[in-house]
């Protein structure tokens, strides 16, 4: 079946929802494709209060931000949402996206502009026995625990002290799960100090320069062998020790889900600071393909606050490109760009700044 829209938004997470919200009242026909049975993306799993400033819902819990954005989008007559619908490919000959709804209905979706907000997928770690039941990605643990109320295990070791590793450890403690330790391969804690301080004062030790060497157990995880790392990230012989646990949670980073952008033949670049391959784009989130915009983790793995700003910029930029914009569009875009730049100031933002410098180009709007 054929569907026509002005703006196609692929992904209904924080970036996609903010992009859609920027198109409210423009009269443009907007379609959101969301793979899950609900809107909100990763926001729905976030039980902690968000950082940032008031304009980015600082102090509000992530899932509540998801609910606010979802309500705004659902109340809008010019926005249609298709849930449980996967954008499975781009067909350049006819210029449509093939969408599969609920694993049975196929649609050819024609559009004038597309905003790709597909997010990121979890990275894994290579070690002996890493396929044993009981070894999860941190996102899976959050989904089980915070969306479905299922306890993933009783006795957990966390790998990775970035914000996700720290936040999921804290959520596990809140749910009454025992977190034995957080292991970090790098010499320093990766995430925000305030997140580390919360788990530390609850008695969870963080071991830096330490990683998992192999998983122990026959039919399911029974423990892990951990090992210290030297300054060149090599195992220090003789430091192996075995710890019992029934669950190992991997929070070792995310990688942008950029498959559709390859199909659009956007110019791509591998940028390790941003998590993998990302499309080059201008300050309006427009890629080297003039009809394709990006926002959120697919444009470089960051925080949800950045994803919301990028979505806002992309949405307004598209409204301008289609000549259906608010009078204040330039000002609104500029405000969001300023907020986004401010988030990248300082030592924590340094890595992102370096990464963005490699993909920001002056392609014209």
């Amino acid at each position: 079946m054929r569907i026509d829209c002005d703006v196609l938004i692929i992904g209904g997470g924080p970036a996609g929802l903010c992009a859609a919200r920027s198109l409210l009242g423009t009269g443009l026909k907007v379609l959101i494709l969301e793979r899950d049975p609900f809107l909100g993306g990763q926001l729905l799993k976030q039980t902690h209060m968000f950082f940032g400033s008031k304009e980015q819902y600082a102090g509000t819990r992530g899932f509540e931000i998801g609910q606010i954005l979802t309500r705004e989008v659902q109340a809008s007559p010019n926005i249609t949402v298709m849930l449980e619908t996967v954008a499975s490919g781009y067909y350049p000959e006819e210029n449509f996206i093939l969408a599969l709804e609920k694993e049975k209905k196929l649609y050819q979706v024609y559009f004038k502009k597309v905003i790709v907000a597909t997010g990121a997928s979890e990275k894994s770690l290579l070690f002996e026995g890493n396929d044993l039941p009981g070894i999860y990605g941190a996102g899976a643990v959050q989904t089980l625990m915070n969306m479905y109320g299922v306890m993933p295990g009783k006795d957990i070791i966390m790998i990775g002290s970035g914000n996700i590793g720290l936040i999921v450890s804290y959520q596990l403690l809140q749910a009454g799960v025992k977190v034995k330790a957080i292991l970090e391969a790098a010499p320093t804690v990766g995430g925000y100090f305030v997140h580390a301080a919360k788990v530390s004062r609850m008695g969870i030790p963080i071991f830096t320069q330490t990683t998992v060497k192999r998983a122990l157990g026959r039919n399911a995880l029974e423990g892990v062998e951990i090992v210290s790392l030297d300054s060149k990230w090599q195992y220090v012989p003789g430091t192996e020790r075995k710890w019992p646990c029934d669950t190992l949670c991997l929070a070792v980073g995310l990688s942008p889900m950029s498959e559709l952008l390859w199909q659009f033949q956007c110019e791509m670049r591998y940028v390790s600071e941003l998590g993998g391959y990302v499309a080059k784009r201008n300050p309006f989130m427009q890629t080297t393909h003039p009809d394709v915009y990006i926002a959120g983790d697919v444009s470089g793995v960051e925080e949800a606050s950045s994803a919301m700003l990028e979505g806002t910029i992309a949405g307004f930029a598209v409204s301008k490109a289609l000549h259906k914009m608010l009078d204040s569009v330039d000002q609104v875009i500029q405000n969001s760009q300023t907020f986004l730049d401010e988030m990248h100031v300082g030592t924590i933002g340094e890595k992102i700044r370096n990464g963005l410098a490699k993909v920001e180009v002056d392609v014209c709007l």
Partner: protein
């Protein structure tokens, strides 16, 4: 070192550590936020203007301890749960600490609780004076706990004692 262990050493507080004279004057907020991150809700939380306006969203907060009266409104405004109020000379033997808690079941007023330091070590027992529900955030509580004076700058978390479990 916070960057290595995940918790700060007391000297890493720097200027955020009140002087003995300031402690003499009554309760005061301790902003244990020492790393630049993009976050600024605390600057609007204080009705007395004791938390100074930020130049950049990445600034760490600066407090004017002469303006602070230790009311604790900033505690629940901090998404990082990094603000505490210490009233050192609460009475002859004890100090009062106000700290944020997001852990169910909450302790109740009058409960005896285990006192934990920044590292999560149990350092003593204290008494819950008040369990404060705040407007800004209904899901967490600010716990007022009475602790021995010498632990005023160590205790940053409380846990329900095992004998309280029903």
């Amino acid at each position: 070192m916070f960057i290595k262990n995940g918790y700060l050493d007391i000297d890493e507080l720097g200027e955020r550590m009140p002087s003995e004279e300031r402690f003499e004057q009554g309760p005061v907020a301790i902003l244990e936020c020492i790393q630049q991150i993009p976050c600024n809700p605390c600057q609007n939380a204080c009705s007395r203007g004791a938390i100074l306006p930020f130049q950049s969203i990445n600034d760490t907060p600066t407090i004017d301890m002469d303006k602070c009266n230790g009311c604790g409104n900033c505690i629940s405004a901090c998404p990082g749960l990094a603000i505490f109020v210490v009233w050192k000379n609460y009475n002859q033997e004890n100090s009062l600490i106000k700290l944020p808690l997001e852990l169910l079941p909450f302790p109740e007023e009058g409960d005896s609780v285990e006192l934990m330091n920044r590292k999560g070590e149990k350092v003593g027992t204290g008494k819950v004076i008040k369990v404060q529900k705040t407007k800004q955030n209904s899901k967490s509580r600010v716990i007022w706990v009475e602790v021995p004076k010498k632990l005023a700058m160590d205790v940053r978390h409380v846990a329900r004692s095992n004998n309280h479990e029903k």
